[in-house]
Symmetry: C3
Subunit: 353 residues, 3 copies
Amino acid sequence: MKNEFSAHEIATMLGGTIEGNPDTIVSGLSKIEEGAVGTLSFMAHPKYEPFIYETNASIVLVNSNFVAAKPVSATLIRVNDAHHAFVQLLQTYNNKQNHSSGIEQPCHIATDAQIGKDVSVGAFAYIADGAVIGNHCKIFPGVYIGPHVKIGDDCVIYPGVKIYQHCVLGNRVIIHSNTVIGADGFGFTRNSDKSYSKIAQIGNVIIEDDVEIGACTTIDSATLGSTIIRRGAKLDNLIQIAHNVEIGEHSALASQVGISGSTKVGAYCVLAGQAGLVGHIKIADEVIIAAQSGVTKSFSKSGATILGSPAYDVSEAKKLYIAYRRLPDLIKKITILEAELEELKKQKRDSDT
Amino acid sequence: MKNEFSAHEIATMLGGTIEGNPDTIVSGLSKIEEGAVGTLSFMAHPKYEPFIYETNASIVLVNSNFVAAKPVSATLIRVNDAHHAFVQLLQTYNNKQNHSSGIEQPCHIATDAQIGKDVSVGAFAYIADGAVIGNHCKIFPGVYIGPHVKIGDDCVIYPGVKIYQHCVLGNRVIIHSNTVIGADGFGFTRNSDKSYSKIAQIGNVIIEDDVEIGACTTIDSATLGSTIIRRGAKLDNLIQIAHNVEIGEHSALASQVGISGSTKVGAYCVLAGQAGLVGHIKIADEVIIAAQSGVTKSFSKSGATILGSPAYDVSEAKKLYIAYRRLPDLIKKITILEAELEELKKQKRDSDT
Amino acid sequence: MKNEFSAHEIATMLGGTIEGNPDTIVSGLSKIEEGAVGTLSFMAHPKYEPFIYETNASIVLVNSNFVAAKPVSATLIRVNDAHHAFVQLLQTYNNKQNHSSGIEQPCHIATDAQIGKDVSVGAFAYIADGAVIGNHCKIFPGVYIGPHVKIGDDCVIYPGVKIYQHCVLGNRVIIHSNTVIGADGFGFTRNSDKSYSKIAQIGNVIIEDDVEIGACTTIDSATLGSTIIRRGAKLDNLIQIAHNVEIGEHSALASQVGISGSTKVGAYCVLAGQAGLVGHIKIADEVIIAAQSGVTKSFSKSGATILGSPAYDVSEAKKLYIAYRRLPDLIKKITILEAELEELKKQKRDSDT
């Protein structure tokens, strides 16, 4: 695989124009403030302009309207949108690193599992009875795909991911290392002696198209029916999704969020880090939940921002919080009031006598 | 394995009576509100009654005293307790899916490891020197059982679980995927240059009978002695149990709870999601700790409910919280008091002159 | 390997003097309050003195100046510092249990991977193209070392750890089971239809010398450049370190801490359990962050203690918290003030008429 590119090749790929030596060679990407010789960087925002005069990056992508205030040693490639062009290159570079590598041995593929075209399976991966893997999937080493799991096309399942029986993944799903999909929901009935008996969890998890899930996240199977992650949703690391939860389309959940059983989160929501939601509530579409919030009830107003533990609408929460910040001041005010009132009462008594 | 059952067979199994076609066939279970053709559902609570007239489920279990207000198209099976009967079927169904599959190759079983009768070991599982596995255990693919680990009978260890050396599991213990039992406790001494030196952690973890542990949970070894999870306790996903902690019998810990070193939690406690406990404290029996609580001291009153961060007894915490909610109102009151007092003082001055 | 030691051998190893039978044999270590026959314990702090008269431990290490107030049945070994001597023994004992075991088959070592001297690789471990493993490393079963990963000397990588491509580890790094190093950062751009597009994450993670990382922790790769854990830092279990974060030298992070993208934590900091830090902030050196704190802004004062959610300097946070605790009392005061003012106004009206 080709690992080096000239300024000329990159400019051609991006439809840009070169300022400097078209034969400049790069083999990696870098941030402009850390740019090393042999790497390509970009400068899109004026606040990074000082770095362009000092960077050691060999090539820098800039917006076509950039005017240098001082001499620049790097070769420049001018494009319409330097940030966008750079993201495009990142993607290309990344794809090259993640090329498929076929079926590595030893791996375990059950005789009745169905494997699509152009699928790679890493060593020590396990694909159980009745599992179906779509085309162009990349199953990394040490992955476990349980019985009757169905996976669509173009999925990437990173090392150590475990997917329990009967779960269903759409197309272009990405799951990072050691995440667990479909473990038993946390369901028990309490016996008369206060011990617990397990309620069998026979539902599954459905993950729709274009979902990405981070590392060490857990999404439990439904007791019955399905826990559902709707298309386009993005989940970070170490997130807990309990049984029968539903996450709406294109919602984004930051790390360490926890969602209790049967709660439904709407579409286009953003849940910040360490937020927790109790079970059996419903969050409307486009709701933003602040970090560390503790959400104890449903919020039905689309587009709301909620925060606090317990969480309120931002207007209410801020009013409370501002009052809280004024507390030491209020205590002083009350002490003054008490003294003044005492003085008035004293004056009153004095004048009465 | 048989995958289809007739109404007649199910009624016989449950001791129920059929209303409708005894030859109706089902091959799965469903919720009544989502019931599909070919599945069996149940209706125990009157609030679900409307669904029984619309469901596509082919068979519905109902309580023997249920009186239909409208025509029902499904075949009914009347039993004493429809919910209980359904849980029984769930269990049976689940057991059928988790049948043992023998020793798959390649797996690693050390020559001096002892493996009981009727044990299944999945491919890529690793059982180290001196490990002892009881009868009827199911060790899934990719599990690691360290040196001298002892596991009782009828345990289920799901894919990717790692158990460090010398840990001990009782009977009927269930551990879900990618959970780690017995990693080193977080113990360091600070040197004079403020760097840390590791304190060797040579204790273990003891997990007693009938404990179930979720996915991606971490239970650290004791520095010396044992971290102990007492019989019947149930732990959810992504929980942290630090070194030398003890969790009492039949306590239930929800997801993302964190318990610091040497803390003892009593029996029959319930810890809700994301609660955190500092180290070296003791929680009495039957205590309920609310979600996101931060417990900073021991609670010795059995049966207490505690909440907040820092956490107080519910009566104290609620009093504080109600006062907090009144804060904006209090600020208004103080402003009025100040104005009125000023007016009184003015009147006093006016009358004095 | 030798598993039993006599009092004579241990005293020789530690430079101590024996009081009792030099032939007393021990095969394990214990806490003095739990000491069993055949184990060695220690007593350094006077508050544990009562246990020395009751313990069943066969040998007890004591400080050289210890004077027994009652008869002691255990064999004593007197040393300068009993606690320190015990830690030394712990370390020795632990090292004996973690001896190297060579290259177990089947494992996957890419033909162009470089493996140092005296390295052990467990079964089902995967070492990818271009990876470099230093001398005396212990790679446990089921570990995944991605393409071009570089690992220094004397590292211990426990079962199930996954390290993505291009990450770099220094010397004497310890990583516990199922931790994930180098998964993609959580980086997306929002499209005009409010769906997300992935920003390729092509940076890596750099972990410097003497870092220890707990189980099920996730450290994401930088978008570009490196996420960095500086030398001597200690991370507990279930921690989230987002892309482009930097953790300073010899800082200690307790379990379930979460740090958002691009935040820099200084050297010698201590972050207690479940604390969360937003992205793009900077924490000075030697800062202590209390458990469950929510840090929303930079703190530039070295040595500060901060707490609360949102977090303030301890002086400010305590003032607020003490005021909060007085709230029910304040409400009573205000009610009294209102009544008294009403009374004064009434008296005024009465006297005016």
